[in-house]
C-alpha cells in the first residue's frame, strides 16, 4: 500500500498545521482528516483528547510511528504517515477486516509496505486501527508489524 520516493514518504494530503494547532488548543471536535471506511462510509479522525483521536494517538504512539519510519530510512512526519496508514487500512482493509471487537468498536488493517530508494520493499506493517462504530471516528491507530493486534475474542 505504501510507496516511497527517495527516503521520503509520499503521503498526501499532508496534515494541515492549522488544524493541528486547533488540536493543540483543545478543540476536540475538529476533524483532522476524514476517510471512506469499508462498511461504515465516512468516518473522521478528530482532534479528540487523551482517550481517543489524534491527541490520544500522538500521546500514546507518536514515538512508535516515528521509530518505524526511522527504521525504514526516515524522512517523513509521524502523523502524515499514520494518516496514510489509517486511510489504507479503513478504505481497503485486508480480507476478513473490519473485525468486530465488541463494545461498538471495529478493527481495521491492511499491509503497508515500506520501500527503499530502489523501490524494493524492505518492511511491511500491519497497522492496528480501531474505529468507534456508533461515533464513526478513529479512536486509535498503532503501527503493529507482524500482524494487527486486535481480536473479538
Amino acid at each position: 500500500m505504501g510507496t516511497g520516493v527517495g527516503s521520503r514518504w509520499v503521503a498526501h494530503p499532508n496534515l494541515d498545521p492549522g488544524t493541528i494547532g486547533l488540536c493543540n488548543a483543545g478543540f476536540g471536535d475538529v476533524s483532522v482528516q476524514n476517510f471512506q471506511a469499508k462498511n461504515l462510509g465516512k468516518i473522521d479522525l478528530f482532534c479528540g483528547d487523551s482517550a481517543s483521536g489524534y491527541v490520544h494517538i500522538r500521546t500514546r504512539h507518536q514515538n512508535d510511528w516515528q521509530t518505524v519510519i526511522n527504521q525504514a530510512g526516515g524522512g517523513a512526519l509521524w502523523d502524515d504517515f499514520m494518516v496514510y496508514a489509517v486511510n489504507g487500512s479503513v478504505s481497503a482493509p485486508s480480507p476478513g477486516y473490519p473485525v468486530n471487537i465488541g463494545n461498538n468498536k471495529w478493527c481495521y488493517s491492511t499491509p503497508v509496505q515500506i520501500k527503499n530508494t530502489q523501490g524494493v520493499v524492505t518492511k511491511t506493517l500491519h497497522p492496528t486501527v480501531i474505529v468507534s462504530v456508533n461515533n464513526k471516528k478513529v479512536i486509535t491507530a498503532f503501527p503493529t508489524t507482524t500482524a494487527p493486534n486486535c481480536s473479538g475474542d
Binding site: N103, K105, T128, F142, P143, T144, T145, T146, N149, D153
Partner: protein, 95 residues
C-alpha cells in the same frame, strides 16, 4: 537496554509494546516468561477492553479500575523478575 511498555490501548490483545517492533527485534517470550504470565498479560488486556468505556471515560466502577491498576503493577514486577536482565519495563496506566 531497550524499553518495553506495559499498557493497553483500545482493541489491543497483547499489552506489550513489542507488537510494534519488527520481527528480528522481538523478544522470544516463550523462553523468557512462563505460560502463566503470558495468560495473565492476555487476561489483563482483555479486562481493559471489556470494562473500559470510551463514551463515559470510566471503568464502570472503582473496583474495576483498582483491580486493573493493581494487576498492572503485579505484572510489571513479574516481567522485571523474569526478563529484566534483557529489557527495561515501564507500566503506563493512561485511562
Amino acid at each position: 537496554m531497550r524499553e518495553i511498555v506495559l499498557s493497553v490501548d483500545w482493541g489491543q490483545t497483547w499489552p506489550l509494546s513489542d507488537v510494534m517492533w519488527f520481527e528480528e527485534d522481538r523478544p522470544d517470550w516463550q523462553t523468557l516468561i512462563s505460560p502463566d504470565l503470558t495468560d495473565r498479560l492476555l487476561a489483563w488486556a482483555k479486562y481493559f477492553n471489556t470494562h473500559a468505556d470510551l463514551d463515559s471515560g470510566t471503568f464502570g466502577g472503582e473496583d474495576y479500575r483498582k483491580w486493573f491498576d493493581l494487576e498492572g503493577v503485579a505484572l510489571l514486577n513479574e516481567l522485571h523478575a523474569a526478563a529484566g536482565a534483557h529489557y527495561r519495563f515501564k507500566l503506563e496506566l493512561w485511562f
